[in-house]
């Protein structure tokens, strides 16, 4: 007796969160069944392995059919084939677009091209994430990138509107898209200690302050491309290091702004000059694409080395960045650059 056909269709589509996770993680049906057996579900429910197998198959089939819709989440809302309560729809979308920290660190800043896709098996081996899951995550990045590139308006809003993601996930995707677009190098060994969260934080600030969108909200690609003029203007910052008076003024302004807000305030105060020099040097070079890509490498190499202490999680790039940028964003005083608005 062999089962030829075995299906279950509910008027409300049944979604089993655990099976969904297994599916997203790229397990085959038999692996998923084995994992479920190990979770002790048979003992809890008194079911047999055959029942579990059939149940898993059913769910996998459903997910497979849903996947097409998940590629364009608004379709999931309007489609008529699967009746799914809104909370479940949100869960399906959110989980589908969720990604693994380990994976995103591997591809962050890389071109989302076929070439990168070919490297996915290596990433899979390295991270222990199944190839299937890697592909899904990669395709998600690429899909979001394709949809929002050359689109007007805020990057986060666009992502949220076209993929119905939660605010937090949409921000993460904005960072991924931003990094991919600008091809920031993040894979160097020196940068390994930085988490995706660290980069995402930087990305958010850069989108807010460094992009075209920061000046004009009606341009295509406004949140993705850096403002060339702004980068050009950064050259002028050299005066901050060269002129002693300006250096002191800058220091006092930064210190006033950051006092009590920074865990490493005293180190910052002590090393202000070196710090500032390092930052200004990096900033001055940003007119070249190559240097833009190496921004984070340079920041870590030059700035943290010049300070003499490696950037640690308690002294991370974002903190650095923040303290350096603060005078321009938070004080009315502006020595050289006409970029006050940023």
């Amino acid at each position: 007796m062999t089962s030829e056909l075995d299906i279950f269709v509910g008027n409300t589509t049944l979604i089993d969160e655990d099976v969904y996770r297994l599916w997203l993680d790229g397990y085959s049906v038999s692996d998923a069944v084995a994992l479920r057996v190990r979770s002790g579900i048979l003992e809890q429910t008194g079911a047999t392995a055959a029942v579990l197998q059939s149940d898993t198959m059913d769910h996998y089939r459903t997910f497979h059919m849903l996947e097409r819709l998940l590629h364009a989440p608004p379709k999931l809302l309007h489609q008529l084939i699967f009746q799914i309560p809104p909370s479940r729809q949100a869960l399906l979308i959110e989980r589908y677009y969720a990604f693994d920290e380990a994976f995103v660190r591997e591809v962050l800043g890389k071109k989302l091209s076929k070439g990168t896709k070919k490297d996915l098996d290596d990433i899979s081996t390295k991270t222990g994430i199944t190839l299937k899951s890697c592909r899904r995550q990669f395709d998600n990045f690429k899909r979001v990138f394709k949809v929002v590139e050359e689109m007007r308006g805020s990057l986060v809003d666009n992502i949220q509107q076209h993929f119905l993601l939660s605010d937090r996930l949409a921000r993460d995707y904005a960072a991924i898209v931003f990094f991919a677009n600008n091809r920031f190098e993040t894979g160097k060994k020196k940068l390994q200690y930085l988490s995706f969260g660290d980069f995402a934080f930087c990305a958010e600030l850069m989108i807010q302050n460094w992009t075209l969108g920061a000046v004009d909200s009606q341009v295509d690609d406004m949140d993705m491309d850096l403002d060339k003029e702004f980068l050009q203007d950064l050259k002028e910052l050299k005066v901050l290091v060269a002129d002693k008076d300006l250096l002191d003024l800058h220091k006092s302004l930064v210190c006033t702004a950051l006092r009590g807000k920074l865990g490493v305030f005293s180190e910052m105060e002590a090393n202000f000059k070196n710090l500032s020099r390092g930052l200004v040097n990096v900033a001055a070079k940003l007119t070249h694409n190559k240097d833009v890509r190496d921004l984070f490498v340079d920041l870590v190499e030059k700035v943290s080395c010049s300070v003499g202490c490696p950037l640690t999680p308690s002294w991370p790039v974002p903190g650095l960045y923040q303290c350096w940028m603060l005078p321009w964003t938070h004080s009315s005083w502006n020595p050289a650059a006409p970029t006050t608005g940023h």
Partner: protein, 1075 residues
């Protein structure tokens, strides 16, 4: 020209890419009705075209309006080659033809293609202007309402129940008539879909005509089926019950009454046990008997079988005169109608009712299950035999191999007529004049066809069968004499002339009338029946191998096998019933399926313990070889196991019948607890003494003789049925006996399994085991899948077996899982009174139809056995808890008036919710579908989907909600075919997608009618054929149901109490789950 049909094509969305080059589509739409076609403009290069067409107007006969579906075809315009079809939508405009139903059909419909499935959606608005010309009602029957629901629909009351209507139409099957069988699959599938749509429209119109002739205005329990006879054609047939219905809710009349009077009405039925035998049970004829006796009882009339034997209908002892009078009246009522000088009077000679639940007082007694089967040979079209006699004569031969021209519907008519005739005579033999819970079915394999009909013989109250004039003294006396909760169990036949040997005892409830010891019925459990404990699904499963044969030889072989199968199915049912310690079966449905080399039998029913019937005896095993010691030991071991199982089941289903029956105050007959066996022959006289000897002790054990390995197998198989996991109950009736506190979460589902048997040395045993495992595993899977709903009950579990190929067995299950409140279930031991109260709260319309009777009469005493819970309930009657009283206030009456108010509140609630969450997508609310919108209240980004929730359920009600409007019948037929089976995920992927699509199309049609649920949903056919070698598969699905609008009871309360909605909100949000 009595009608103008107006259609507007608004827009499309999610269309497929038809032009690979541009990744876009140039879509336009053809709108066709009858022979008229209109076209929209081509909307260039878009997957979301906005046609916004003018109104296309069709001026048509109302006859066409009824028959024809509206056909909408979406095409891709191609300048150089033929336009490519994207897909079609068929819209049945019937719901627009009666005044109370929908006024407009408007919404998004899935665009369906028989090869590709759903390909995008189209927004359509349809209206009909009817010019009412009464004289035109010759050929059309506009205005007759159709309901699939097998009880009086919730917002109507039955003025008269006229009786049986049936019709069938025959046509050639386009699949087979295609020239030289060279067909493009799409063309022939579409031809078939369209033809069946047309035929069912025609059928409905013809049935409507008959109803009008009977002066009815509705058909309830409408069941339409297709027989795909292959080369000999396509039969569409339907049966139903003609009624005159009155709409209940006229807001003005009821609004003021809603406080005090309605409450009174509600309470009064509790203390008013008289007449509400709402549903009947059947009497199973085979009673506590030994194995040898079983065969005696069983009447093997080939090819039909009647469970209950023969008996004459003379008056019984006590209720005798009444019964006789009643019977007379019923008969005269029926005959009067039958003999009326109408054109269709012949058809009304059958006093059949497709209803399974009845208005209070309708059902008086129940005789037992009657069934008839007949094996027929389908004939090739060219066979001209017997055309000569086709005129008006009918053949009543049981088995008729003679071929008829299948083009003539009369052939099929005659076949069914003879079966119905037989059912009628069986019912008569049981002393009954009517058959309720009646249904018909077929099973076809190649050219052999088994026609089956079954129902429950019953005695009905004539009041409903005629124009209200009869209500008089008879009825009054009748009601006085029929205690509630047991009246329907009392035997309708004469105990001196019993149709079959059976144990009769005095009713445990009223002590006045005789009841059988076991009762089998095809109907639902009457609401007022007193049940102890909970019910459970009981199935008998059976396979029989059969030699492959041709034509007559084949038919003979089948008809020879049939009686044995029926007998075994019955034995299995009886054994399992005993094992569950229960004494009655409701909703019995026996399905016999014929295949190339085997016959399958599957019987499903819901077992219950009726308080009125005696306690069932156990099962006793007797060995044949008493000398063998080890064998003895084995037997005693088995016996112990069986006894344990019975004890366990008693506990599981909470069956604790009250032990003490003598203490009943005013019990007329003190019952000696003797263990005596009743073996009554027909000659035996029945004086008082013998009657006193009747008892219901445990002695009447059911003896199973184990004389060979087969019997051993049977016993084993009895014990292999695993009870559902804790927290799960299942039944195949509408409501689960013993559970009444449903919460509002429901999940309807369809599950299909096909297994391939290993063809080597198949034996009956191996086959049985395979089949048994298949069903058991399927159930286990369901329990597992629905585990998150615990505690819940699978209701209306409907198994269908088919044998698509030699070694394939296909089982299709449709059911609904409903959650219930466990805590409440524990404290309320279901008493009759409480149940009535509960019922009163949900559908007191039924009760409201007799406000006078209910209110004016004094309260007769409860004729219940004074078990503790009954006493409690009696005492609680006076002081019904406030909560319960609150729920029992009737809001339906003014629902209409308030509906706009409800809308307003809903809208407000929605805006509030929307305001509180961040939404980025702006979606305009599509007006007809917005209905369900307010329910979507979670998840930020998705909160404003335009897709309204449509619930589907095979039940006639929605727990926790009130049906406010019936919008019309949904009857849809789809074909799906693929030539890339592997690519679509194999057979499972293919069928899974197709069933999901069918659900989607049903929901879309309901939503377009303005409804938010389908009740009495049924998947009547799911024919699946595959050819894996060719990478092909095809599936045909036929579904039907009633589109309705429902309002949550909690939402109704919001309206009734001017209190802030906040207090009620939690209760309505809590169970908000889509199905």
């Amino acid at each position: 020209m009595p009608g103008k049909l107006k259609v507007k094509i608004v827009a499309g969305r999610h269309l497929p890419v038809m032009d690979r080059a541009s990744d876009l589509t140039d879509a336009f739409v053809e709108v066709k009705f009858g022979n008229t076609t209109f076209k929209t403009d081509v909307y260039l290069k878009s997957l979301n075209p906005q046609w916004n067409s003018e109104w296309f107007k069709f001026e048509v006969d109302d006859e066409d309006l009824q028959d024809e579906p509206l056909q909408i075809t979406v095409l891709d315009h191609d300048t150089y080659s033929a336009n490519d079809a994207i897909g079609k939508v068929y819209i049945d405009i019937d719901p627009l033809l009666y005044s109370e139903a929908a006024t407009v059909i408007s919404g998004w419909f899935p665009i369906y293609d028989t090869i590709h499935g759903i390909r995008g959606e189209i927004n359509v608005v349809v209206k009909v202007d009817l010019f009412n010309d009464l004289n035109r009602f010759r050929q059309s029957s506009c205005g007759v309402k159709f309901f699939c629901t097998t009880s009086i629909p919730k917002c109507y009351r039955a003025v008269i129940i006229h009786g049986f209507v049936e019709e069938l139409v025959v046509n050639e099957d386009p699949e087979y008539q295609w020239i030289d069988r060279i067909r493009t699959p799409r063309a022939s599938n579409e031809a078939r879909q369209r033809l069946i749509s047309l035929m069912s429209g025609e059928l409905q119109r013809k049935i409507g005509l008959k109803v009008l002739e009977m002066r009815g205005n509705a058909v309830v329990g409408y069941l339409q089926c297709f027989d795909l006879e292959g080369e000999s054609g396509l039969v569409v047939r339907a049966i139903g019950t003609a009624c005159t219905l009155d709409k209940l809710s006229s807001p003005a009349a009821f609004l003021p009454a809603c406080n005090s009077p309605s409450k009174e009405m509600k309470e009064s039925p509790l203390v008013h046990p008289p007449s509400h035998g709402c549903r009947s049970t059947h009497n199973s004829p085979i009673h506590t008997a030994t194995g040898s006796r079983l065969t005696q009882n069983f009447s093997v009339s080939v090819p039909t079988l009647i469970y209950t034997g023969m008996g004459s209908g003379s008056a019984g002892k006590e209720g005798g005169p009444f019964k006789a009078l009643l019977r007379q009246q019923t008969q005269s009522a029926l005959e009067q109608r039958g003999g009326s000088p109408h054109r269709f009077c012949r058809r009304r000679e059958f006093p059949f009712f497709t209803l399974t639940a009845f208005p209070p007082g309708f059902l008086v007694h129940v005789g037992g299950v009657v069934s008839a089967r007949s094996v027929k040979l389908l004939d090739r079209i060219h066979n001209p035999a017997f055309v000569g006699i086709m005129g008006n004569t009918r053949s009543y031969k049981l088995l008729d191999w003679n071929s008829f021209n299948s083009d003539e519907p009369e052939t099929r008519d005659a076949w069914w007529a003879e079966i119905r005739q037989e059912i009628k005579s069986h019912a008569k033999a049981l002393g009954c004049h009517a058959v309720v819970g009646y249904s018909e079915s077929t099973s076809i394999c190649e050219e052999v066809c088994i026609l089956s009909a079954s129902g429950t013989a019953a005695v009905l109250n004539p009041r409903f069968l005629q124009d209200g004039t009869v209500e008089g003294c008879l009825e009054q006396r009748l009601e006085e004499n029929l205690p509630a909760g047991c009246g329907f169990c009392h035997i309708p036949y004469d105990e001196l002339n019993m149709p079959f040997p059976a144990h009769l005892t005095y009713c445990n409830n009223c002590r006045k009338q005789k009841v059988p010891d076991v009762l089998f019925t095809t109907i639902d459990l009457p609401v007022d029946a007193t049940v102890i404990g909970k019910g459970c699904l009981i199935q008998a499963r059976l396979c029989r191998l059969k030699k492959k044969a041709q034509a007559e030889a084949n038919a003979t072989a089948i008809s020879n096998l049939l009686p044995f199968m029926e007998y075994e199915v019955h034995t299995q049912l009886m054994n399992k019933l005993k094992l569950k310690a229960m004494n009655a079966l409701f909703g019995l449905r026996i399905q016999i399926t014929v295949g190339e080399n085997m016959l399958m039998g599957l019987a499903s029913a819901t077992g219950v313990y009726l308080a009125a019937l005696p306690t069932p005896g156990g099962i006793q095993i007797a060995g044949k070889t008493p000398n063998d010691g080890s064998y003895e030991q084995h037997i005693s071991h088995m016996q112990k196991k069986i006894n344990d199982t019975i004890a366990k089941n008693k506990e599981l289903y909470e069956i604790n019948p009250p032990e003490i029956s003598e203490e009943i105050i005013g019990s007329p007959i003190p019952e000696p607890r003797q263990r005596s066996r009743l073996l009554r022959s027909q000659s035996e006289s029945s004086d008082e003494v013998t009657e006193l000897d009747l008892s219901h002790g445990k002695k009447d054990a059911f003896v199973l003789e184990i004389d060979d390995t087969d019997a051993m197998e049977d016993v084993h198989s009895l014990l292999t049925d695993v009870p559902p996991p804790s927290g799960f109950y299942s039944c195949n009736t509408e409501i689960m006996p013993g559970i009444n506190n449903w919460t509002s979460e429901i999940q309807m589902f369809t599950s299909v399994r096909v297994i391939r048997l290993s063809s080597l040395n198949l034996t009956n045993q191996a086959l049985n085991k395979n089949f048994n495992d298949l069903c058991e595993n399927l159930l286990k899977s369901l329990y597992f899948k629905l585990r998150s709903m615990i505690p819940c009950c699978l209701c209306h579990v409907n198994f269908t077996v088919s044998l698509p190929e030699d070694e394939l067995i296909q089982v299709t299950v449709t059911a609904v899982a409903i959650t219930f409140d466990k805590n409440q279930a524990l404290q309320t031991t279901k008493t009759h009174a409480e149940k009535l109260l509960q019922r009163a709260s949900t559908d007191n319309e039924e009760l409201l139809q007799f406000p006078l009777e209910l209110c004016s009469d004094s309260l007769p005493s409860h004729p219940f056995p004074p078990a503790k819970e009954h006493l409690e309930s009696a005492s609680s009657n006076s002081g019904i808890p406030a909560a319960q009283r609150a729920t029992s206030v009737d809001y339906s009456s003014f629902a209409d008036r308030c509906s706009s108010w409800i809308e307003l509140i809903k809208l407000k609630a929605q805006t509030i919710r929307r305001g509180s969450i961040k939404t980025t997508v702006t979606v305009e609310k599509a007006s007809p579908m917005g209905e369900g919108n307010f329910r979507n209240r979670s998840a930020p980004p998705c909160a404003n989907s335009t897709v309204g929730v449509v619930k589907m359920t095979p039940l006639s009600f929605i727990p926790g909600a009130k049906i406010t409007k019936y919008l019309g019948i949904i009857n849809m037929f789809f074909i799906r075919e693929t030539t890339s089976l592997r690519e679509e995920g194999g057979v499972s992927g293919f069928l899974h997608a197709f069933i999901a699509e069918v659900f989607a199309m049903v929901r879309a049609h309901v939503a377009a009618l303005g409804g938010n649920a389908v009740v009495s949903y049924i998947m009547k056919q799911c024919v699946f054929m595959e050819n894996p070698n060719k990478n092909q598969a095809q599936c045909l699905i036929n579904v039907s149901g009633d589109a309705v609008v429902f309002v949550r009871e909690s939402e109704l309360e919001v309206v009734s109490t001017p209190q802030p909605a906040a207090s009620c909100q939690p209760s309505c949000t809590g169970g908000e789950v889509t199905t």
